[in-house]
Assembly symmetry: D2
Homo-oligomer: 426 residues x 4
């Protein structure tokens, strides 16, 4: 095995993407470090798009999983009762739901975020007898047809090859600038019997839009959206797939906002270790599914149950971890804020889901490329890929975090200072 990508070029579809930004053969990884096949170390500020909030190969999860495998624990269980699933359910109930006074049923929908979103949308339609889902500009919810209809990105939508129906697109908070209240606009259109938006089954919203450019909704706006949903008999679905599992400093990204969503979707870091695992949380009164009305071969990924349980027990039994994330988030905000300020750019996001809007996709790409040269894996986000996005493991050591931020700082300097010089020279 050599450090080239001939095999991939020859055998894999050209649909692959991250391997184009990071054309390197990787082998091992630990916490926030990924090792190239050649042994070179890379700092991981991508973290599997927030699927590795607890870092790569957490030793406790590794140990539990190895122990489970070597003792012949059931791997694939459909939705049969297994010990690993029961232990996960009990941990989720006692560590997550009860302390937050949340009353939800857990639906195992199949292991991808798109599965969780599809199940959420299906259920909202089933519960309300309506079909229209309100989704937002820059929203990202998945690639399967139902989830894709709610996704805003034109390139992704174009892959459908068929009309994506059943969704009305509304502007996210701040879309028309700080002075325009887009929640009020939505309310006016829904209130109006000739507004032309069919009565909604659901309003589907990401508290922080990860792919869409790190747009963080305010508690006030989300409360309004919730009120509109209730007023119009629609379910409020929070898609917490990228922003959840601690990314913003709390287990759910909005748990301090006083919201009461009907449905919450989770995936990405839920398994703790990057294993495919997703959940749809639903209020008990909406649990009107018939047995098997939604199913999926891999909805019983017992390896993920094991590691997910360890993640809950290790990181969420008390406030230590959350407080650490909040502290790091503030540090991140300070350092990124300084860079942004230097180039008169704006900061985006919340907690440890933060980035700088360069306002130009080419600039952002150049910055990320420079970072990769210096051993930092980092990606862009936003409708025009204009945001340089920091999504490092929440468990990253402060020194490594700073090292990564140094690389970013240098890359901005290299790309934008020369731009400024060029501009000045012209």
């Amino acid at each position: 095995m050599t450090n080239t990508h001939e095999t991939f070029d020859r055998v894999e579809s050209q649909v692959r993407s991250y391997s184009r930004s990071f054309p390197k053969l990787f082998g091992k990884a630990k916490n926030a470090t990924i090792f190239g096949h050649d042994g070179r170390e890379y700092i991981d500020f991508l973290a599997g798009c927030s699927s590795l909030n607890y870092g790569h190969n957490d030793p406790d999860m590794q140990a539990a999983l190895v122990d489970y495998i070597t003792s012949d624990g059931i791997t694939h269980g459909l939705d049969m009762f297994t010990e690993a699933k029961q232990a996960f359910l009990e941990a989720y109930e006692s560590i997550i739901l009860k302390p937050r006074d949340m009353n939800y049923k857990l639906m195992f929908t199949g292991p991808t975020g798109a599965n969780a979103v599809e199940a959420a949308i299906k259920l909202a339609r089933k519960v309300t007898g309506r079909t229209n889902v309100i989704a937002f500009t820059n929203g990202f919810h998945g690639m399967t047809l139902g989830a894709l209809a709610a996704t805003g990105n034109a390139g992704k939508r174009g892959g459908a090859g068929i009309d994506l129906n059943g969704v009305h697109r509304a502007p996210f908070e701040g879309y028309f600038g700080p002075d325009v209240d887009t929640a009020d606009m939505l309310e006016q259109m829904l209130d109006d019997p000739s507004g032309g938006i069919d009565a909604p089954a659901a309003i589907l919203v990401e508290p922080v839009q990860g792919e869409g450019g790190l747009n963080a909704a305010s508690p006030q706006w989300l409360k309004k959206i919730e009120k509109i949903a209730k007023k119009h008999g629609a379910l409020l679905i929070l898609d917490d797939i990228q922003a959840g599992c601690g990314r913003t400093g709390t287990f759910f990204s909005c748990e301090e906002f006083g919201l009461d969503p009907d449905i919450i979707t989770q995936a990405k870091s839920l398994s703790g270790m990057g294993l495919p695992f997703a959940l749809t949380l639903l209020k008990p009164e909406h649990d009107i599914w018939k047995p098997a009305e939604h199913n999926g071969t891999f909805r019983g990924n017992n390896h993920a149950f094991v590691t997910a349980r360890v993640a809950l027990e290790k990181f969420w039994r008390d406030e230590t971890f959350a407080n650490g994330v909040k502290a790091k988030g503030m540090h991140l905000e300070t350092r990124l804020g300084a860079i942004a300020k230097r180039y008169d750019l704006t900061l985006r996001g919340r907690g440890m889901m933060m980035g700088i809007n360069t306002e130009d996709g080419d600039v952002a790409a150049e910055i990320c490329a420079k970072c990769f040269e210096q051993g930092l894996i980092i990606e862009t986000s936003g409708g025009r890929d204009e945001v340089v996005k920091v999504l490092c493991p929440l468990t990253i050591e402060l020194a490594q975090l700073d090292k990564g931020l140094d690389i970013i700082e240098d890359a901005f300097e290299a790309v934008l200072a020369s731009d400024i010089s060029r501009a000045a020279a012209e």
Copy 2:
């Protein structure tokens, strides 16, 4: 932890289904045996709906996976180049594609069969610029909106809560009895400019309908379907998710039929060990995806790459395993055939994907319930759940296979002989 299901009742959505047929807490599993929490042994004739063709916890896969984990191998890799993925690609190319003279690109679509089907349908629409997909009676392709539209089951479809468009339903082979050629019918309708079926993007067909009642299409019929697809500019998509990976005796269920499908979908047993993993194989000329036009957070499940590679290397390097499956398939056919004959019922399926059509969902359910009492896990299939379906691991020991078949034989006797007596008595 006690052997009750209070936790599940309290915390999990009522959408769960298999746990209703098998209300038992399970813990460990090895090859074709599943162990209850209380230590009771069950023979597994369900095999994760064909996701465990190589049995539970194959020791070589376990070893490789444990080794990978303990050496900090990358778990979650998006679509970055990793050593585990490269090794899988090389194994797939050399062990599967080359010996069969198959020229396909591998698309990693996200880890579920539904992802693979959604990607296949999207690509067919993109390639042809058309939207209509021909799918068949009793077809089962997944729960996400695009795949669900192609699925025939009314209960599943009803969960969508929205119209499922873009699919024309055609009768599968033999649907109207042995004398009616449904391929000819489809051809006539498509040939007719007023036939009212829009020019198709794809014909999507399962070579053996697993969920739909073990309907095995003949080579002749499939060849006709392929010819119709080509004549009408449609892509032929073989959904080999349940029937593939050796289930019918060969790696692909139709590889001896002389077909040349444009797209093949794989999942279920692909990872070898029951881990979430799916693939869409596509002819290179159809590989017109733009980078990231279809993506998915869990499309780089490296644990699955490891175990899938082991599965290929262990079972498919030569004919030994395939020949063993064929032999067991014949044994299965003989024994199930005898039972079917006794009660004047018909056998269904092909290879080790075989069952008895009891023609009555209640009867089939009663038989399966009796089997479970006797320590056999087995399920029904078919539009009315009327088929008792044997889907044991292909690696099952002959003695255990016979033991399971004995239990089935007794269960048929218990349920149907009494029926016959009752009927005679009346």
Copy 3:
């Protein structure tokens, strides 16, 4: 004004079609004769596609309409109460509904057949809460999006520019030959919970498919279709737009079949004189419309009310007219049958809606072109325009009917005898 079509070429869209088959400027018309601008007489075997069943400019309708206009009768009345509408309603009730013991409400939907069909489909969906409509191969129901979805013709469907959803296409009677019962097939698929056809809101069927090639359904098949509709909770919609108003010998084309449709659509000859006018008849129990839930600016075409009333009073008060149509229909059958037999072709249709299937669109076009040269206006029908279709006014004089049939006979001779000679010579 000269007898050229420069004006049309310059000012009108190229979507026009009949003027391509009959490139002639016409001026006046009386009963079955159309007069060219130059005075040349043409026999009309097209009759406005069955919109002129009572011929052009019936003198009694002319008189009544002129009287109405000159006395300032309301022309355009929306759905306000007008004397002309009241008189029409009373005539329709006493002459049509009561003697046939039919209990239907009349819905004025807007003046086109497509309006009537759209209203019928909308109502069936509203009544059943379902969306799926079963329509048939070769069906023709109109050009607006809802009606077009039910239309089978690929050329027409292609004009939509968007997917036409909400309709399952089923084969019409005899589609797969005389030995295959397509009603049984439909029933089997609908009965099957995995048949993959969603529970239907309606079955929409033309008793005789006019545009689709003069396929006349048998009473037996239609009764089966009705039974299937009732069994599955679907409404039976008879689209009698082309076959109704006496075309088959009775006012409704199926009134002697013992059917009990939920909805009947009428248009074309309903006004008697070719004025835009359509009706949707619905069983009172289905009259669940809210006021104005379906409306239309021209749903109160009072000129049409006047002439439609005269048509009812003149032609349908007793059996005379109907008997005459039946007699002419038999004459037509005899003469067309003889021509068909000569060339080993088949007769199609019923009553005075009859034609010869030439099995070749080019041949049929050549025959119609030859007819036009000889002063006969006649068109083709069928998926491949392969049927030479006689749709003359029902009021045509027998001598003129024979003259037209002579021209057809000669045209078949000219086109097909030479073909046969050619074939023999080769």
Copy 4:
């Protein structure tokens, strides 16, 4: 025949609506006067919802139509060349198109406005290969499925019984108040690659929304909309069905705005006399229809060709009529403005399409009911039926116009003054 509505109650569907506001049997009508069966005179401020811009039974149209009928002119001509059609085309070309330097092809789509809109949408989709149509809040475009999807009214949409797809709803000018530019908003969303609105086939807009509450778009806003359409490769469709034919003072409602629409739809007053007649005007470069790709039985309503020609020749050969309409429009504005001011209400609309927004549907209904008691036929408009709408014939005598306005003034007094008193008393 008696002056009751028993017949209607017994025989007609309950979908009827105007007859509920005006429960009176009408017989004759002349210009702006409608006569009850009992001889009572009513002033017509409804004018067939703008279908009777030239009043009831214009004597010249009557004479021409009677002459045409009595001379056996062709009534129903499909799309064959007829003298009446040719004369209409020539008049339209010389009187309407040439003087306005407009280069359009005329498409005869079937006689209803909905037909014209459906054809326009179909063509835009065909031309662009896209499906998405941008339509506006409060838009009204018809009841057939394609047109209904673009209509905003929830009550009308609810009648569809199926999802109405293919349309994105955008806010009309002023929807969020005078300070929010909704055209800029639309542009921002369309410019944004993650805006989530698919590239549009067309922007469909009424220059003055008739049913939607007399919202008159400004030239500036419409120019912006046109610019957005061109920028994004979409066709601009002006739906001039209610606002055209002189209603705003010019033949096309926007002809003085400097717009260059790709498609214009016309209907309602196009025939001059209230006969069913519609047109879709399209730029020659968009005339890519295949023959008969869109058709319709009643697309050759020759009676309408005759009266429409007379209307063009009588009213549009010079400026006299247009100037008269403008003058009356100003008079209307003055008088309605005074009423509106008295009650602190706002005026809506443009030209002779004007009304008062009472801000309360019950109030507006009460006012209209009072008017009817006093012999004035007038209706409401707007999403909540809150606008009292004056749509009298453009040909109304000034004295009668004032008489009608007096009745309105009194009705406002009766309803609102008492309200004010009541409010003061409370």
